[in-house]
Symmetry: C2
Subunit: 95 residues, 2 copies
């Protein structure tokens, strides 16, 4: 489906993607975690996308087996190629 | 309003009340916390009450200043009178 293609493209083009809900504390914690690591994720707030948000949540479950948020995609190869992987791991280890 | 009266009565009649959302992980953590302490809270799942759920959330903010869930009421005097306060504190300290 075209929404599946959208998700696959989003995840391919962005080293870190967080599918989130804006009022969800678990989602907030993941977003601050990446803030603290100076990696800037692409954040998709599913609750702010109306009907498309719940459709996306269903597509994510189909693609990953996970229905819940936060749903986090990390492309370590892309991060490595951008020189961002080792700094991120170093900072994470320092915490 | 009558919904305000409902909340005040609920909180007066039950030593522990948790206003919750059934799919919210923070709410789940609070509910398990009380499980582990053998205190049985009255749980109100706001997301399962349709329109009344969001009305309750607004009333709770009016009464307590807190809009978010989980919203927890603990009547320590009632717990003490039921002989439940000291066991609960002892178990909480043991964790
Ligand atoms: N243990 C999981 C919990 C995930 C979870 O239960 N997420 C909740 C929100 S905190 C959820 O997505 N509920 C269904 C929904 O909001 O649609 C994690 O850490 O990610
Ligand atoms: N620091 C607060 C966070 C409370 C919070 O942000 N709750 C979220 C859900 S995790 C909330 O109620 N959001 C608005 C809503 O769901 O209506 C706590 O620990 O209780
Ligand atoms: S932690 Fe409350 S909605 Fe996610």
């Amino acid at each position: 489906s075209s929404l599946e293609e959208t998700v696959k493209t989003t995840v391919a083009e962005n080293p870190v993607v967080v599918y989130s809900k804006s009022w969800c504390s678990y989602s907030s914690e993941v977003k601050s975690l990446f803030n603290g690591l100076q990696v800037k994720p692409l954040v998709v707030e599913l609750d702010q996308l109306g009907a498309e948000g719940s459709q996306l949540q269903t597509v994510l479950e189909k693609l990953t087996g996970q229905f819940t948020v936060p749903n986090v995609f990390i492309d370590t190869l892309q991060l490595y190629n951008k020189g961002q992987l080792e700094p991120m791991l170093a900072e994470a280890n320092a915490k």
